[in-house]
């Protein structure tokens, strides 16, 4: 840029650089731009790549991983049955846990001191005791209370009475334990999400005459979901693997099933690998769900939504194809 042009950009009366100094600046307009180099970044990348290759190589070549055994059991009838049970436990306790957690969160945020205290105590008890202990307690409830009955308290009137042991099966104990434990944690997650929504939203809704239930579910909850979802999916993924704890009830979910098999065949590591791979598959599928659900609740929260990987791929393909046609 010439010194006259520099001066022309300055407001009248402003002091430009001295002409001598400006003339000393060489003209750069025909120079090429070269980005700075990052040699250590390349060195780091090479090192990590070597490590990844090393790990992959050992996984493939070390015969003790017994991939043939893994393949043999991966889709075996009993394993698939265990997988189904794991999914069933996760779905039921996950849904029930979050519904109960939502109610507990609303109780905790309500104006009633009793509801607040009950909700707080619930979370306190179930977060303070190990899940394993809770499971065993539920399963052995029959020892504490022989019969479960519905009637009028402090009288002999009973409408309905059943021995506890028939009511609390392994499945019931597992669902009960997982649900109540999950509810205690999700209550706090949902409460945190609700608290993150601006108070003005509730005021505006109340000023418009919108009923309380709709204010909670239509105005606050959808906005709270942005804060709730990442942690909630953490919880669900934790629950998928957490269901393996019901092996103490000899309940034949995925983990118990592979244990039974390797106790018979003595192929411990390959069978643990079978279970591990299935947990990885479930978690991966859940992560995809998480991505799209989070994206759904992001509407209105960001100015423009970023493209999904699928949309990106489609865009790439279409521009790529278009490029070919024009050529």
């Amino acid at each position: 840029m010439s010194s006259t042009a520099t001066r022309a950009l300055l407001p009248p009366g402003a002091q430009g650089p001295p002409p001598a100094a400006a003339d000393a600046v060489p003209r750069y307009s025909q120079y090429h731009l070269v980005g700075s180099r990052h040699p250590w970044r390349w060195a780091g990348t090479a090192l990590v790549a070597l490590l990844v290759i090393g790990v992959a190589w050992s996984l493939i070549t070390n015969p003790r991983w017994e991939w043939a055994v893994v393949g043999q059991w991966f889709t075996a009838q009993s394993v698939l049955h265990g997988l189904g049970e794991t999914l069933r436990l996760t779905a039921i306790s996950g849904i029930l846990g979050f519904v109960l957690g939502f109610l507990l969160a609303l109780m905790r945020l309500s104006g009633s001191p009793l509801l607040v205290a009950v909700s707080w105590t619930f979370s306190w008890i179930f977060r303070s005791t190990p899940l394993l202990v809770q499971m065993l307690l539920w399963y052995n409830l029959g020892y504490l209370y022989e019969k479960v009955s519905v009637g009028i308290p402090f009288t002999d009137v009973r409408f309905f009475e059943v021995p506890t042991t028939t009511l609390i099966s392994q499945f019931a104990a597992a669902v009960l334990g997982l649900t109540l434990n999950q509810a205690a944690y999700s209550a706090e997650i949902i409460r945190g999400g609700i608290l993150s929504v601006d108070q003005g939203q509730l005021e505006a809704a109340a000023a418009l005459g919108i009923p309380a239930w709709r204010r909670s579910t239509g105005i606050v909850l959808p906005q709270a979901m942005r804060a709730i979802l990442p942690t909630a999916f953490n919880e669900i993924i934790g629950l998928v693997k957490g269901t393996s704890i019901v092996y103490v009830l000899a309940y034949s979910e995925l983990f118990y099933t592979v244990q039974v098999i390797y106790n018979r065949t003595q192929q411990v590591l390959p069978l643990l690998l079978v279970a591990t791979l299935w947990y990885v598959v479930i978690t991966s599928v859940l992560s995809v769900f998480q991505y799209y659900i989070e994206r759904y609740y992001a509407k209105g929260a960001v100015r423009t939504l970023p493209l999904t990987p699928l949309q990106k791929a489609r865009k790439y393909l279409s521009t790529h194809a278009a490029g070919k046609v024009t050529r």
Partner: protein, 265 residues
């Protein structure tokens, strides 16, 4: 300012008191606003202007006194010698007759502009979606935002958001509209687009109560200006009376601080 005579939207505020903790922020306010009247409330921050406005639609419960719109008590029902607070459902019904516009817009960010406007007519008044949609588009057109009906609030400027908020308040066809510092959160160059919409509303015959620091606007549109300080009404009158010839020392002190020297009345 002369306007066609209105029959609905009479606001009677009688000896209203309100405390936050041990601090009394409203020391017995009495004020009657005629149907269709445009009243602007001015005063320093902390003077209780916003609190007074929020008691009118029962967003703040009063600790004493009462408020009536067109003769019916807001938030309470008289029974014997006592005033019983109304059940939530009836308070919500009363609120549908009182629109409110907030300083921070408080638009629902997960709803489009149109959905923001149609939410209350559908949910609170039980109108059909088609009907509400038609009304919503009309109102967005009225505030000059018909082409942004499907935009989310984050995609709109502050001035546009506040205009959507005004359309949302109008959707319930309220008798009374409350504006709580509607332009205070806006960049200076966006203030006028909101004031223009409000100016148009002053001709609609809806009773307007406006808390604002926009003195030029108050002078132009108000039938009456009220000066509040420390939870009391210090002085009130026509804009001419209050701005040109304030009687109270505190009013003069406030106005001299807020009006620029070049501001001619």
């Amino acid at each position: 300012m002369s306007r066609p005579a209105q029959t609905r939207g009479l606001v009677e505020i009688t000896d209203v008191r309100k405390s936050f903790g041990t601090v009394e922020v409203l020391h017995g306010i009495t004020l009657t606003v005629q149907p269709g009247e445009v009243t602007v409330i001015v005063g320093p921050s902390g003077s209780g202007k916003s609190t007074l406005l929020r008691t009118i639609n029962h967003l703040e419960k009063v600790d004493g006194g009462f408020i009536a719109i067109d003769g019916s008590l807001i938030g309470y029902r008289g029974k014997g010698t006592k005033l019983h607070e109304l059940p939530e459902r009836e308070i919500l019904k009363q609120r549908t007759e009182i629109g409110m516009v907030f300083q921070n817009f408080n638009l629902f960010p997960h709803f489009t502009a149109l959905e923001n406007v149609t939410e209350a007519p559908v949910v609170a008044q039980g109108r059909s979606r088609t009907e509400a949609r038609k009304l919503g588009l009309e109102l967005l057109d009225r505030v000059g935002l018909k082409d942004r009906a499907n935009a989310y609030p984050r995609q709109l400027s502050g001035g546009q958001q506040q205009r959507v908020a005004i359309a949302r308040a109008l959707a319930l066809e309220p008798k009374v509209l409350l504006f709580d510092e509607p332009t205070s959160a806006l960049d200076p160059e966006l203030v006028n687009e909101v004031l223009d919409v409000m100016r148009e509303l002053t001709e609609s015959g809806t009773t307007l109560l406006i808390v604002t620091h926009e003195m030029a606007f108050a002078r132009d549109v108000a039938d009456r200006v009220i000066f509040m300080d420390q939870g009391r009404i210090v002085e009130q009158g026509t804009p001419q009376e209050l701005f040109s010839n304030p009687q109270e020392e505190r009013t003069r002190a406030f106005l001299s601080k807020i009006l620029e020297p070049a501001f001619n009345i």
